[in-house]
């Protein structure tokens, strides 16, 4: 080799050797990269969630990652070199028979092998867990097996999730509610069996269609609102709406919608649960209508309702109930507090009734007064019903209350009115009875007078006396009837006054003229006091004379004979004031307000002095008021006299002309009787004419005009027959009869009650008093003859 060639070769060697160094460096770099890559792979295997086991070609374990160590319970150090079947023991979950190891099969067949389903891995400690796995052979470049890689994972969680999903799917499938899902575009994705039932579409018909298939046109806006809320991640719960079923049938549903999100939390759709509430809705409608009707009825009846919870003792009230009880809104109430509002007089009775009703399980109804906090008192009607727990204890009471104050007031008014009507009716009956009596009283002497005239046996003076008597009685009847007519006219405002300029003295004189005979007959002393100057005013002279005549007649009647009567006329304050005062029987204080009422007599006592309809004072009041005046009565008390005062306005006042009739006293003389008879009658004329008739019939007649006189007369003359008027002054006929019957001499005689009172009660009372008969005036001549003829033959001693 030449020198240059040697140099060339050295240089070449140098370069080659330098290159060798760089090549080595490169190889080392590549090896580092490989190492790094291997480490990455190792770490990847160690970090991978799946368990990894690799084997050699003989199926012996070479490598386990951490997950495989954990699942098998074999650490790498222990597992390395072991047969795979020792480390990786698997059985069938269903048969528990050993399962062929997939890695060994992969080695044998040279292909990827997946594990059979339902495989259990038995760990080194014997614990079991379900796994999924697959195995792949590792082949060399010429295809020869180098080993196998087994990858497996614990699927316990997945199994549980699958079971849960299966359960959920079963629940969805068997749910009574329609459950469906849809995309945000509204495309239906799932559809359970209940959805088929509710909406009528099969899953095949519904899935893939838009949800608007179910939405009525007028409710399409709802979907946009639902979608907007879903996109905000919100749920829609129990949204009640209407949807369309197949065929257009409308279905009421309660809709709950939840957003469906992907794994990144984005809303990608919605799940809907729809409950068919059509039946409930109908029931609600019926219930609501019922409640509305009830509320209307409650409102119409102005009812308030309340309830009491026995557990909490709390009361609750409707607004109307609060108003009725006067409870301020918002105030809490207990039952005892509510009871305290009940009037103390009604509280206990009401509670007893409520307790009795609730104890027997029934409803109660009670009325009581409520005293509101402000003191106002109202009547309420309370109706309630108790509610009971299973053990029978009362759980509460609910009820309604109604303000019945107005009804109670009306009832009270009605009751008062009824009493007034009853009183008026009673007075009317009494008046009619009195009217009959008063009309019969003159008829008796008239009949007697007529009988006397018919017999013609009496002398001329007796006949004249009889005619006078008959005239007076007839006048009396006329006056009675006129009074009745006047009262009727005044009541119906049909009385026409004949006014003229009259003087007060003329009026009084007319009155005195009319009453004078009666005053004289009674032996009364009359004092008249008139104003000094003339008092003239516009009035009906006749009517005002009637007023004062009535007042004077009243004094005459109710003043025992020999009494005193004052008439005093005066002018005060533009009024003519005329008072009539007597020393009569007076008027009880409590009767004073009613003395001017129609048909009113202080006491329809049998002791009344004179007859009369009891309309005189009513007539006075009506006539005075017709003249624009007033009349009042005063009395210090019973037996202390009475004062009537009339005020008559002097301007525009009326005057009246009294129409008085002088009643002439008639004296009747009777023929001597064959029977000894006592006639007791406060009607002097009636007694006298009857006595005369008896005497004309050949009997001996004696007359008495009051009860006491009658007893004395009977005791003295010992008659066979007593004709006893019942209503007489001093002592009534019945008491006189009792007194007579109590005496030995009074028992044998015949006593016949002779009265204008002919009602059954009157007959019973006379019989009870000892009367043998009861004749109603006027007595019939034939009755009298028959009575006399039936008297015992033996005379009374």
């Amino acid at each position: 080799m030449s020198e240059p060639e040697a140099d060339e070769e050295r240089a070449l060697r140098s370069v080659a050797l330098q290159n060798a160094t760089s090549i080595l460096a490169e190889r080392q770099r590549v090896e580092r990269e490989l190492f790094t890559e291997r480490e990455r792979l190792r770490i990847t295997l160690a970090s991978i969630g799946d368990a990894v086991i690799s084997t050699d070609a003989d199926g012996r374990v070479v490598f386990l990652n951490a997950v495989a160590e954990k699942l098998t319970g074999w650490p790498q150090a222990d597992a390395a070199g072991q047969t795979l079947t020792e480390v990786f023991r698997i059985i069938s979950e269903t048969t528990r028979a050993p399962v062929e190891n997939p890695a060994l099969r992969a080695l044998r067949e040279g292909r990827v092998v997946d594990l059979a389903n339902h495989t259990l891995l038995i760990a080194r400690d014997g614990s079991e867990r379900p796994i999924d796995d697959s195995a792949a052979p590792m082949l060399s470049e010429d295809g020869s097996p180098l080993g196998a890689v087994l990858v497996f994972r614990d699927v316990s969680e997945r199994k549980r999730a699958e079971e849960a999903a299966a359960q959920l799917a079963a629940i969805v499938a068997s749910s009574e509610d329609a459950i469906l899902s849809k995309t945000l575009d509204g495309v239906i994705r799932s559809w359970n069996a209940a959805a088929e039932r509710v909406f009528g579409y099969t899953a095949q018909e519904a899935v893939g269609k838009n949800i608007t298939l179910l939405i009525p046109v007028e409710r399409l806006d709802e979907e946009a609102v639902i979608l907007a809320r879903l996109q905000q991640g919100q749920r829609i719960e129990h949204f009640e709406t209407v949807r369309l079923a197949k065929g257009g049938r409308r279905v009421y549903i309660s809709l709950s919608v939840s957003p469906v999100k992907d794994h990144e939390g984005r809303v990608i759709g919605a799940s809907k649960i729809a409950r068919d509430i059509t039946e409930r809705k109908r029931a609600d409608d019926v219930l609501r209508e019922t409640e509305e009707r009830q509320a209307l009825a409650v409102a119409a009846a102005n009812l308030g309702d309340w309830s009491w919870d026995a557990t909490t003792d709390a009361m609750s009230f409707s607004q109307r109930a609060l108003e009725i009880f006067g409870i301020p809104p918002g105030q809490s109430m207990t039952r005892s507090a509510m009871q305290a509002l009940v009037h103390e007089e009604d509280r206990r009775p009401a509670e007893m009734q409520i307790e009795l009703s609730t104890a027997t399980g029934g409803n109660y109804e009670v009325e009581y007064r409520v005293v509101r906090p402000g003191g106002e008192q109202v009547w309420v009607s309370s109706k309630g019903k108790a509610q009971y727990r299973a053990d029978g204890a009362i759980s509460g009471i609910f009820g309604v209350v109604q303000d019945i104050s107005e009804r109670k007031r009306l009832e009270s008014d009605l009751r008062l009115r009824a009493e007034e009507l009853a009183d008026a009716d009673r007075k009317k009956d009494e008046f009619i009875a009195m009217l009959a009596h008063e009309l019969r009283s003159p008829l008796a002497p008239l009949r007697t007078g007529l009988q006397l005239l018919k017999l013609g046996a009496a002398d001329a003076s007796a006949l004249e006396k009889a005619r006078g008597m008959m005239d007076r009685q007839l006048s009396h009847m006329v006056r009675l009837i006129d009074d009745l007519l006047d009262v009727s006219r005044i009541s119906s405002s049909r009385l026409h006054l004949q006014k003229a300029r009259v003087s007060l003295s003329d009026i009084v004189n007319h009155a005195l003229e009319a009453v004078g005979p009666a005053i004289q007959a009674a032996g009364h002393q009359l004092e008249v006091s008139m104003p000094e100057g003339p008092v003239v005013f516009e009035a009906d002279l006749t009517r005002l004379a009637q007023v004062f005549g009535n007042l004077l007649s009243n004094s005459v009647k109710y003043t025992p004979n020999g009494g005193r009567i004052w008439l005093k006329a005066d002018v005060r304050g533009g009024d003519a004031v005329v008072s009539v005062k007597d020393t009569g029987i007076g008027i009880p204080g409590d009767a004073l307000p009613r003395v001017f009422e129609m048909f009113s007599q202080v006491d329809r006592s049998l002791e009344r002095v004179t007859g009369g309809l009891g309309i005189g004072l009513a007539l006075v009041k009506g006539l005075v008021e017709t003249h624009g005046g007033t009349v009042s009565a005063e009395s210090p008390g019973v037996g202390l006299g009475t004062t009537f005062t009339v005020h008559l306005p002097l301007r525009g006042g009326d005057t009246a002309v009294p129409q008085t009739e002088a009643v002439a006293r008639a004296e009747v003389t009777l023929v001597p009787p064959r029977r000894k008879v006592v006639v007791a009658d406060d009607s002097v004329d009636g007694a006298e004419v009857l006595a005369e008739l008896l005497e004309a019939m050949g009997n001996e007649a004696h007359v008495a005009h009051d009860g006491l006189s009658a007893v004395e007369l009977v005791e003295r003359v010992r008659p066979e027959l007593v004709l006893m008027d019942v209503g007489m002054p001093r002592q009534n006929g019945l008491d006189a009869t009792r007194q007579i019957r109590q005496q030995p001499w009074g028992r044998p005689m015949t006593i016949i009650a002779l009265t204008g009172w002919g009602q059954d009660a009157d007959r019973q009372r006379s019989r009870a008093a000892g009367c043998d008969g009861h004749l109603v005036k006027p007595i019939d001549f034939e009755q009298l003859e028959k009575l006399l003829s039936e008297l015992p033959a033996k005379s009374v001693e």
Binding site: N19, S22, I23, V30, E141
Partner: protein, 356 residues
Amino acid sequence: MPSAVTIPTEPIGSIPRPPTLIAAIAERDGADPSLDALYDEAIRDTITRFEDTGSPVVTDGEQRKYHNFWTYCVHGLANTQPDGFKIPFAAGHVRRMPRLTAGPFRYGCYADAYLDVALRHANRPVKQAVISPSALSLMYPAETLPGYPREQFVRDLLDQHVGEVRRCLEKGAHAVQIDFTEGRLAVKLDPRGGLLQSFIELNNLALSRFSSEELKRIGVHTCPGGDLDSTHSADVDYAELLPSLFRLQAGNFYVALAGEKDPARVLSIIREHRQPNQRVFVGVVSPIDPRLESAEEVRDRVLEAARYIPVEKLGTTDDCGYSPFCDDTSTSRDAAFAKIRARVEGTALASAVLAR
């Protein structure tokens, strides 16, 4: 014993260029576009004649490697100088490598460009030969290039080589053959084997980037060099080379054997060091031997090899290219194809024998 045995046979690569082409290249630069028609014609003719030999695998005869098999990819690069190392041949002439003067190192052309043309003409599978990275590694000078360290050069070299091979595979090359004739040269330069080991490592770094499937289509060719009927390292004992050679991760080895004085010894070494997955194509004709081998001769060589190498891992080839250097006209195209035909026929005969 298999009922049908087909021993694969493949060419090494180069076929002498037509004289007109050689003359034209001599007159002009080999890259002159005006030569394209000549190149194309030469390739078409080469492939046609290749196929006429019955060779199941053909090449383009490396007609466009207008300089040589070694520097085709770096010839004429701006960052090279032609004053690189000289490769001395036994006949006394030298071939000179270009010298890298600056980085970065990039190929001027890639062999897959040749493959594109060959595939247009071929009716049979086409094999493509590329130069090994270890051969090109000698371009970097002894002195470190400023701004371009040797390590970076090595990485660039590997990238360029791997890219070239991968593109050939992807374009459909039946096989890619890496010419590693410098293996025996390395032993010659460094009898202790250090240089050879670094060449092996460098080439393995490249091979490690391929998958096992790809490696089945990649082979390494080693020979003592053949240029102008001369070698550069025929004096190097295969025993020094082959143990290291079979450490290469390639799937195929094209080993010159016909020119060896003691083929049996070489086959013994192969048998001893071949890895199970490695197929060995033994050289059954010698391009530098002016004598035309007969088919029977070839047959016998195959049968002898079959005694050392499993038939399924045995193949036949030429000992070397017939014209690794463009201007080598020591062997005529006719002679080359005659030898190829002998290889093909002899291999078939052997297959028939082995099939019995």
